[in-house]
Amino acid sequence: MKLINGILLLVLLAVARPGMTALTIEITKGMEGAIPIAVVPFGWSGKGAAAPENIAAIISSDLSRSGRFETLPDRDLVSHPTDASQVQYHNWRMLNVDNLVIGQIRETGPQQYSVEFQLFDVFRTKRLIGYSFPARQSELRRVAHHISDLIYEQLTGEKGAFNTQIAYITTTGNGTKKTYTLLVADSDGFNPQTILTSSQPLMSPAWSSDGNEVAYVTFEQKTAEIYIQHVATGSRRKVASFPGINGAPAWSPDGTRIALTLSRDGNPEIYLMTLANKSLKRLTNSPAIDTEPVWTPDGRSLVFTSDRGGSPQLYEVSAGGGQAKRLTFDGSYNAGADISPDGRKIAMVHGEKGAYRIAVHDRETGLLRVLTDGKLDESPSFSPNGSMIIYATDAGNRGVLAAVSVDGRFRQRLSLQAGNVREPVWSPFGRQ
C-alpha cells in the first residue's frame, strides 16, 4: 500500500508540471457482477388488451438467468418508452442501468405479428442494435429468445444460448405405476414436448452434435438398451442391446460415433461404436466401473468416471485407446462429467461430506470449484456457449431443473411442469 502511495505521488509529481496537465490515475480493480439492464414491457398494437406473449418478461428472465445481467424490476421502471424518440437517457442513468431494451409487438394479420426491439447504451447515449421480426403466435417465445441472444451477444461478446433446447426425463406416478417421459423444451423450460413415454426407466439422453437426434437408454424391454431417436419425426432405431449394461451414450463431435458403457465383457467398460456399421471398439480395461464417457470438443479423447482408484474419479483416455490419466483428486466422489464447449472446464457431480453438488474443474489450473449448494445435485450439462450449466436438484419431494452460471454467481430454478424432473442436457447451437 505504501509503495502504491509512493508510486502515486511520483505520478502526481510527474503530471503536476505545467504543460502536462492531466492527472494520471490507474484503475486496477473493477467489480465483477451482472450488467444492469432495464427491459421495458413491449408496446402492443392489436386486438385484445395485451400481446399473446410477454416478450419483455421472457427476455428479462433469459438475461437474468444467465447470471450476466441484473434486470430492473418492473416496479422501478421510471417510464415505458416503446420508441426511440421516447427514451430519456438521464432517467435511466439515475437508475444506474447500463442498458435499456424497448420494443413493440404489432398484430399484422390473423395469428401474424411483428416484433421490434431496440437496445440502448444509456451512459454512452447510443442505440446499439434494433431489429424487427415477423412471427406466428407459436413462434413468439422463440423470437423473444432470439432477441435475448442478440442482446447477450452485443453486451457480453459471447454467443447467446437462449434460443436452444434442453432434453430431460421426468417421472410421474408412484411405486409400480410410474411413467417415465423423455421431453424436449426451450432452454428456459417452457414449451415442453414429450418425445417418448415408458412404464420402465428412461435415462441418459444425449444430443447428437447437429441437434437433430437424441440417444437415450431405455429399460422398456426390462433390460438396458440404447436408442437413437430423431427429435422432429419421432422415428427411432436401436443401437445397443448387449447383455448387461448398455448405458451412458455420448455422441462424438463429428457425429459419426457414440461412446457408451457396456458390461458385455463382465464389467462396465467404455466402448466406441461407429454408427454407420455398429462396430465396437473397447476403450477401457479395468476391473472397476468405467462409465459416463464424454468427448473432448476436439474429439481426440474422452473423459469418464472410474472407481479404479477406490473411489469414483474422472479420468481421461485417448479416443485411440491407451492408458487413462486421472484428472480429479479433490474429494472422494467426482463423477458424471460434462466438458465445456471450449474444452477448458469439466463439470461434474462432486460428493463431499454427504452432499452431492455440481463442481467445475479448470483444466488449466487443475482447481475445482463447487458451484451449487444442494445435497443431491446431479447431471450437469453445459450450455452450448459454455456460460451456464443446467443440472438437476432436489426440491424437497421432487427433482427440478436449475441453471447456474459457470462462475457460480447466479443460480435459478427453471419453471417446469409438475413431475420429478432430472437429467437435463442442453442442445447444441443448431437445435432451435
Binding site: L8, L12, A16, T24, I25, I27, F123, T156, G157
Partner: protein, 248 residues
C-alpha cells in the same frame, strides 16, 4: 655557556673589545650626517677701480664727478630700485599669476578629485543597493519557492487524497466484462467541469477489445460526478484526467 667562555678566552676578549668600540661609536657619533651652513644676505660687490684714477684732476671735477657719480649712483640706485621694483612687481605678478594658475589647477584638480570621489561613492552605493536588492529578491524568491513548495506539498496531499477517492469511485462503478482476456489495458482522457461532472470521455488508447473499452467508458460516466476538493483553486489539478484501466 660558561664552559664555552672558559674554553675560548680570546674570543671573549675580542667580543668585549668590539662591544666597547661599538659603545664609543654609539655615544660620540649620534649624528653622522654632514652639516652645511648657508651665509645669510649675499650682496653683489660694487666696482672700486675708478676712484684712484680721478684724484689727479680737479677737485671740482672731482666733486662734479662725484656728484654725477652720486647722481648716477642715485639714478642707478633708483633705476636699480625701479628695476628691482619692476622686477619685484613682475615677479609678484608672475607669482600671482603662477599662484592663480596653481590655485586654478588645484581647484580643478580638487573638483576633479571630488567628482571622482563622488562618482566612486555613488557607484559604490549603487552597487551596494543593487546587491541588496538582488539579495532581497533572492530571499523573496526563496521564500516564494518555499511557500510554493509548501503549497504544492499541501496540494499534493489533497490531490493524492482525491485521486484515491476518484480511483475508488471509478473502481466501484467499473463492471469488468466477465471472461475478457487478461492483460487488457485501456486509457481514456477525461475532461471534468467544476463540480466534478464528466464533460467528455475520449479513448486515447484502446484495449483492442470493444467490450472492454465500452465498460471503461461506462464506468467513467457512472462515476460522474467525480469527488473533488471543496477548494475551487484545486480544480486545476483535476480538469483533465488520464485514466489507465489495467486490471491486475
Amino acid at each position: 655557556m660558561w664552559k664555552i667562555i672558559r674554553e675560548n678566552p680570546r674570543a671573549v676578549l675580542y667580543a668585549v673589545l668590539m662591544h666597547l668600540v661599538l659603545l664609543v661609536l654609539l655615544v660620540f657619533s649620534l649624528d653622522w650626517t654632514p652639516k652645511i651652513s648657508r651665509p645669510a644676505g649675499v650682496k653683489v660687490p660694487i666696482e672700486a677701480k675708478l676712484i684712484d684714477q680721478r684724484q689727479l684732476e680737479s677737485v671740482e671735477e672731482k666733486k662734479k664727478e662725484e656728484q654725477r657719480k652720486r647722481e648716477a649712483e642715485r639714478k642707478a640706485v633708483e633705476e636699480k630700485k625701479k628695476a628691482e621694483a619692476e622686477r619685484k612687481r613682475k615677479a609678484e605678478a608672475e607669482a600671482k599669476r603662477k599662484a592663480e594658475a596653481e590655485a586654478k589647477r588645484k581647484a580643478e584638480a580638487e573638483a576633479k578629485r571630488k567628482a571622482e570621489v563622488k562618482r566612486k561613492t555613488e557607484a559604490e552605493a549603487k552597487r551596494k543597493a543593487e546587491a541588496e536588492a538582488a539579495q532581497r529578491r533572492e530571499a523573496e524568491l526563496a521564500l516564494q519557492q518555499q511557500l510554493a513548495a509548501e503549497q504544492a506539498e499541501r496540494d499534493q496531499g489533497v490531490v493524492a487524497e482525491y485521486t484515491a477517492y476518484i480511483q475508488d469511485k471509478i473502481q466501484q462503478n467499473w463492471l469488468k466484462p466477465a471472461g475478457s482476456p487478461e492483460g487488457l489495458s485501456c486509457t481514456v482522457q477525461v475532461s471534468l467541469i467544476p463540480g466534478g461532472d464528466v464533460a467528455r470521455v475520449q479513448i486515447v488508447r484502446s484495449s483492442g477489445d470493444p467490450l472492454f473499452d465500452r465498460s471503461v467508458e461506462t464506468a467513467v460516466h457512472k462515476a460522474s460526478p467525480m469527488p473533488l476538493p471543496k477548494d475551487a483553486a484545486m480544480f486545476k489539478y483535476f480538469r483533465e484526467l488520464r485514466l489507465i484501466f489495467k486490471p491486475r
